[in-house]
């Protein structure tokens, strides 16, 4: 019986009856095309299975949140929700603003000034997500009497991350400052987040 070793060149192959077939490359392409087509088909089927776990339309229909600031006295903070996550709105006292401005920028893990984290002329309004940038717990410090940590801002009880009065990370495992969401003042006492 003829085998591939029996003087058949790489451009040839042996048919079922032992005859030598010329120009077999075209047949190889058929195989490659069939496998490639099957692969694409499998990918097209896997994609919706994976993608179905991404946020659905009702979750993506994110509304904006309006927050009334009029009742927040200096030194107080409120917790509200934005996209099902906690949102901290804090009315900083002049002492807290001074404490935030006194920190040398070079000492920070995630360098940002208080000015960059607040709106122009509204440096006393610190609006951040209440989501620790480490693993997502809600830091303490917004509610009355809660532990504000060694830097007078927020303290996360999960793994001990401490934030300063500008919500900047100062110690612990969290990599970045508390996120400032997109928001704007629609009046002196109202902000719209989102």
């Amino acid at each position: 019986m003829a085998t591939l070793d029996d003087g058949v060149s790489p451009d040839q192959t042996v048919g079922p009856g032992g005859e030598v077939l010329e120009n077999p490359r075209r047949r190889d392409y058929l195989q490659i095309a069939a496998i490639a087509f099957g692969g694409v088909g499998a990918g097209v089927v896997v994609l919706p299975l994976v993608n179905s776990m991404n946020p659905s339309a009702d979750v993506l229909a994110l509304s904006v949140t309006e927050v009334d600031l009029s009742a927040i006295e200096p030194g107080q903070a409120i917790k509200t929700t934005f996209r099902k996550q906690p949102l901290f709105v804090r009315n900083l006292t002049p002492a807290e603003i001074a404490a935030a401005d006194a920190v040398p920028i070079g000492d920070l893990r995630d360098p940002q000034t208080l000015e960059e984290r607040t709106k122009e002329g509204k440096a006393n309004w610190l609006v951040t997500l209440g989501v620790c940038t480490h693993l997502g717990c809600v830091p303490l410090g917004a509610g009355a009497g809660e532990n504000k940590g060694p830097f007078g801002g927020y303290f996360c009880p999960c793994h001990g991350s401490a934030y300063d009065t500008a919500g900047r990370i100062r110690s612990g495992p969290a990599p970045t400052n508390l996120e400032v969401p997109v928001y704007e003042f629609t009046s002196d006492t109202t902000i719209v987040v989102g």
């Binding site: 994976v50 776990m53 991404n54 946020p55 659905s56 979750v59 917790k79 929700t81 996209r83 099902k84 996550q85 906690p86 893990r109 209440g130 480490h134 693993l135 997502g136 717990c137 809600v138 830091p139 303490l140 532990n147 996360c156 009880p157 999960c158 793994h159 001990g160 110690s171 612990g172 495992p173 969290a174 990599p175």
Partner: protein, 429 residues
């Protein structure tokens, strides 16, 4: 297992003969856990924990299927369905719920002892590497399953555990946040996350069952190891699995069920966390949040990294935590000592017991508050954990001078007495 002296399956009953000649399933069982599987005669009670882990898996699957008949997988209804309907209204629901919850703890207790047994007696060494690798896969699946199950009651620990553990993935550079949002199906744990965790919590135990079958299959190729680490040399070294080890495992199982019952009936909440009796509140993290006890050593390793060094501390912690488990995949190639059992390895056994102590310390600091002294302890303990596998084991496996091994299992058992009586009776039987 193909020792030549293994008993052959010879059914007497016509029905079994009829079945065996068409689908040899009875023969398969006979050769797997029956009299057709010869096992070393010197196994001690540490060889009981594989069976106990199998029983724990069955307990979880059976109680889990029943609990799923009464569970509402929605953020609005989950807490009430578990703590109200199942605990108060469903017939014997309180028992099934506590059995499932404490069953997870019992599962991890026996699995940790099972793993420590393997580490001490060198059960991961050639020719048993595949058994060990499949075991580590089962361990990873077990942790994923237990995590998702703990989320389902939708208490405070459930919610914040889901937030923190999916947060691990956000540490991955560039694509981390995308992966986390995909896992959660949103920006924070909510209905979407709870529902998919329910679906996967149902699926994974059956995946575990599949890998357990491979685990046992791989075990039956070389046969069970034994406390001497010396391979079986002849018939006198073994006894048939049934009735000798079915009886012994049955006795161990009775002790297991006694301890399990005491937990369920007298201390059902001892191993749980009281905060999970508070409904999930997305606006407030409990002041002292800790994972379930069986995750504490790994949680301590995660928390030990507090300083950015080239990559952020957050990524270090997550890499170290996953690395501490993935490391086990490489153990068969890190330990080059040809001697299996630590009974004959005077240096290895010292470091082994320090490792056991080290993991207990990690467990303690994992549950303690992240104050400075605990952070330092966790850093030292985490350093030893990695040093044991990556530095100490490879070095001592080259330098150590093992004690002389017994010539055979039978010699080790009889310590000089003649083994002939046993082999004669085995031949005549």
């Amino acid at each position: 297992m193909s020792f030549p002296w293994a008993k052959q399956y010879a059914p007497k009953h016509p029905l079994m003969q009829w079945v065996d000649s068409r689908l040899p399933l009875p023969r398969f069982v006979y050769n797997a856990v029956g009299a057709g599987y010869p096992v070393p005669r010197n196994l001690n009670y540490f060889w009981n924990f594989g069976v106990l882990a199998g029983v724990a898996l069955v307990v979880q699957i059976v109680t889990g299927i029943v609990l799923a008949m009464h569970f509402h997988s929605s953020a609005a209804g989950a807490f009430q369905s578990v703590n109200g309907t199942i605990m108060r209204d469903v017939n014997a629901g309180w028992f099934l719920r506590f059995a499932h919850a404490n069953g997870a703890s019992m599962f991890f207790i026996v699995v940790y002892i099972h793993m420590a047994r393997g580490l001490f007696y060198g059960s991961y060494k050639a020719p048993r590497e595949m058994i060990w690798l499949l075991g580590v896969v089962i361990f990873l699946l077990l942790m994923a399953t237990a995590f998702m199950g703990y989320v389902l009651p939708w208490g405070q620990m459930s919610f914040w555990g889901a937030q923190v553990i999916t947060g691990f993935f956000s540490a991955i550079p560039v694509v981390g946040d995308t992966i986390r949002i995909w896992l959660l199906g949103g920006y924070a744990p909510d209905d979407a996350a709870l529902n998919r965790f329910f679906s996967l919590h149902y699926l994974l135990p059956f995946v575990i069952l599949g890998v357990v079958i491979l685990h046992i299959w791989a075990l039956h190729i070389p046969g069970s190891g034994n406390p001497t680490g010396v391979e079986v040399k002849g018939e006198q070294d073994t006894v048939p699995f049934h009735p000798y080890y079915t009886a012994k495992d049955g006795f161990g199982l009775a002790i297991f069920l006694l301890v399990f019952s005491v937990l369920i009936f007298f201390y059902p909440d001892m191993l749980g966390h009281p905060d999970n009796y508070i409904e999930a509140n997305p606006l407030s993290t409990p002041a002292h949040i800790v994972p379930e006890w069986y995750f504490l050593p790994f949680y301590a390793i995660l928390k030990a990294f507090t300083v950015d060094f080239i990559i952020p501390a957050k990524l270090w912690g997550v890499l170290a935590m996953f690395g501490s488990i993935l490391l086990l995949f490489f153990l068969p190639w890190l330990d080059k000592s040809p001697v299996r059992s630590a009974n004959f390895r005077p240096v290895y056994r010292v470091f082994f017991w320090i490792l056991v102590l080290d993991v207990l310390v990690l467990g303690y600091v994992g549950g303690a508050e992240p104050v400075a002294v605990n952070v330092v302890i966790s850093q030292i303990a985490a350093a030893y954990y990695f040093a044991f596998f990556l530095i100490i084991v490879p070095i001592i496996s080259r330098l150590e001078r093992p004690r002389p091994l017994p010539n055979s299992i039978t010699e080790a058992v009889l310590k000089g007495e003649s083994g002939s009586r046993v082999s004669e009776s085995a031949v005549s039987a």
